[in-house]
């Protein structure tokens, strides 16, 4: 979470892929470099040093949707220190703008009276806050240990195939979502489902597109806590 998007492009060889001025071959003498000449990820997108740092936006030239403003102010009032509301506020803005776009951050900054830089620093820290454009349906497929032992990597690939090219989807491999009992699992717009079989993926994606309940029988909320078969013999 500490690195920028270029780090996400580092493939299994450890060398960057994607939008790079990559030399021909590994071992051919050319050293792959990110744009800007750096060999390490994270420095490919330098700040523009000719610009002044953004200051707290002036309400006069930063229109904020009324509902968003009200929601952010409601969160701010809940804490002894209003700044504690930064995550809920960014989440609220993300709901409106789909991602933490410069406009979204500016609007939060305007209401909370914080600099956009402060909020951008917060937004880049947390996995659920998106700092580049994404689709509005969040599908987090857990690919951590317990899920990968039960086929999560194949599941992620399958979901990616099924949604390929659809700009409405934000499909991501995610760290352990705290539902390894239903591995392999996914969080679909905050609804946990699992275990998801590969042949259920087309249904799942169709349900997301149609806006209906996703895999109702497989939702964690319907799962019993205690397994009646679980008895100890001693």
């Amino acid at each position: 979470m500490s690195e920028g998007t270029a780090a996400e492009n580092v493939g299994t060889t450890g060398l960057p892929e994607g939008d790079l001025t990559l030399g021909q071959h590994v071992g051919s003498g050319e050293i792959p470099r990110y744009e800007g000449g750096s060999r390490t990820p994270g420095w490919d997108d330098p700040v523009d040093l000719t610009k002044d740092p953004a200051v707290i936006p002036d309400p006069a030239d930063c229109p904020v949707p009324e509902e968003l403003r009200a929601e952010i102010e409601r969160h701010m009032a809940l804490y002894p220190d209003a700044r504690s509301a930064s995550i809920p506020a960014l989440m609220a803005a993300q709901k409106v703008h789909v991602w933490c776009s410069p406009t979204a951050i500016e609007q939060v900054a305007c209401v909370m009276r914080l600099t956009p830089g402060y909020l951008a620093a917060v937004a880049t820290f947390y996995d659920m806050l998106e700092t580049s454009p994404v689709g509005r349906h969040r599908v987090y497929v857990c690919t951590n240990i317990s899920c990968s032992l039960r086929g999560a990597d194949e599941l992620l690939l399958r979901v990616q195939e099924e949604t390929a090219g659809d700009p409405d989807f934000n499909v991501r491999g995610f760290e352990c979502l705290g539902a390894c009992d239903i591995a392999p699992m996914a969080s679909v717009d905050d609804v946990y489902v699992g275990p998801v079989e590969l042949d259920e993926v087309p249904d799942l994606v169709a349900q997301i597109r149609a806006g209906t309940e996703v895999l109702p029988e497989k939702q964690i909320i319907r799962r019993k806590s205690v397994d009646p078969n679980a008895v100890s013999t001693s």
Partner: protein, 441 residues
């Protein structure tokens, strides 16, 4: 050793998440009223005597931690750690989904004991459904006079707020959590000062895990002495355990501490998938050093796990069968910590990155056996040299895997190298290809 139901007793009763059903079952009853009129010190003493150890990972005495809270009139806080991001752990989710009032009742009593008048539940943002359930339960409790000023006419007042995170494992670390709750990036703080002296908004703060706090009403209900009879020495009571991976029935189970691991895996969880053998398991979440199939007769309690060189941690057992490559699991593990390292200290930030790179090299067939030694030495250089224990949390299990499965790592390196060389030679033999100089690195 038996399966005890204290926290999970009747957990699947429909409507238990509502105040009405919870109260009908005795919640917020005589025990609760009595607790709020007991002197604080007596309550803390009772918690110490129960032997309750923190259920979030570190296993520190709950009562002792509460006793560290300074006396005197000042703003003090209770924070419930519901970040639950340790891979393999999903027990707090179950409690919050099914019985949110158990947690709230425990928090009200815990806050009273610690002298705190404001409380927060820091829940991971991914648990949106659970956060909604908690929000509703907190609102019910306010409406019923169980939260707010002068709870049930007593001297105790408590505000409570559910705060949603936004996805960061490090916010489960108590000081990272506090920074995050203050609206910052969740970077851990230097300790001391410990949160009990200077925590949230610089005020004294008691931080406990969901399960720890939810146990409080039960301890007071049965009495500390009775509670301490459950379990084994130094590991009293029951524990919710999350079992996942290659078992037939993954899930949450409540056990009496000290139950043999074999009983957990074979009786409760129905054995290993496909009736295969256990190769290794993480006894306390992904941060715990692995134990092998030879360690199944160990009693599952804090001291036995520590003696075996691992830890009980959050109570999450991840089981890996004999068909799985230790190298693949090791890479998944290292990738997680690399992704979650906050980047504040060098050994953790660089060590996690390099461990991933070296494992990728092993898998790609470009590593030499020497790389294994380098990787092992990276782990020893991380341990004890970081600000928080996230670095150690990768270094300990990775180190334990290399130590216990060194021949498999070595064989993997050789096989992968041979494979990549074969592939290279095959590609060179294709007509029209120009051989690349220096490609056999």
């Amino acid at each position: 050793m038996s399966q005890e139901a204290i926290l999970f007793k009747g957990i699947d009763e429909p409507g238990l998440n509502t105040l009405e059903v919870y109260k009908r079952r005795g919640g917020y009853g005589d025990v609760f009223r009595k607790a709020l009129s007991t002197p604080r010190d007596a309550l803390v003493t009772e918690l110490v005597e129960s032997g309750l150890r923190g259920r979030g990972g570190a296993g520190f005495s709950m009562g002792k931690k509460a006793s560290f809270m300074p006396k005197g009139a000042m703003d003090k806080y209770l924070v419930c750690n519901a970040d639950e991001s340790e891979p393999g752990t999903f027990k707090d989710r179950e409690l919050m989904t099914k019985s949110p009032h158990m947690l709230i009742e425990g928090m009200i009593i815990g806050a009273y004991a610690a002298g705190a008048t404001r409380s927060f539940i820091y829940i991971r943002g991914e648990y949106a459904q659970q956060a909604d359930i908690l929000d509703a339960a907190v609102a019910e409790a306010y409406a019923d006079g169980l939260l707010g000023k002068h709870i049930l006419g007593s001297d105790h007042s408590l505000e409570m707020l559910v705060h949603r995170g936004a996805g960061a494992y490090i916010c489960g670390e108590e000081t990272g959590l506090l920074d995050s709750l203050e609206g910052k990036r969740g970077n851990p703080r230097l300790k001391p000062p410990f949160p009990a002296n200077q925590g949230l908004y610089q005020g004294p703060t008691l931080i406990n895990n969901v399960e720890t706090l939810a146990t409080i009403p039960h301890i007071l209900g049965m009495g500390a002495a009775e509670y301490a009879k459950i379990g084994v020495e130094n590991s009293t009571g029951t524990k919710l355990i999350s079992v996942s991976g290659h078992v037939k029935r993954p899930g949450n189970y409540e056990i009496e501490l000290g139950m043999p691991v074999r009983e957990i895996l074979y009786d409760l969880c129905g054995g290993i998938e496909g009736d295969r053998e256990v190769k290794f398991y993480f006894p306390g979440g992904s941060s715990s050093p692995v134990l092998t199939g030879d360690d199944l007769d160990l009693p599952y309690d804090f001291d036995s796990m520590a003696k075996a060189g691992s830890m009980l941690g959050s109570g999450a057992i991840i089981v890996v069968d004999d068909q799985t490559s230790v190298v693949d699991v090791c890479l998944k593990l290292a990738q997680f910590y690399k992704h979650e390292s906050c980047g504040k200290c060098t050994p953790c930030r660089e060590g996690t990155q390099w461990t991933v790179k070296m494992l990728e090299r092993i898998i790609a067939g470009t590593a030499t056996p020497m790389d294994l030694d380098i990787m092992a030495s990276v782990q020893t250089q991380i341990i004890g040299n970081c600000l928080c224990v996230l670095g150690d949390a990768m270094a300990m299990p990775v180190g334990s895997m290399i130590e216990k499965f060194r021949p498999e790592f070595e064989a993997y390196i050789e096989e992968a190298r041979a494979r990549s060389e074969r592939e290279l030679i095959a590609s060179l033999e294709e007509p029209g290809e120009v051989p690349l100089v220096g490609s056999l690195v």
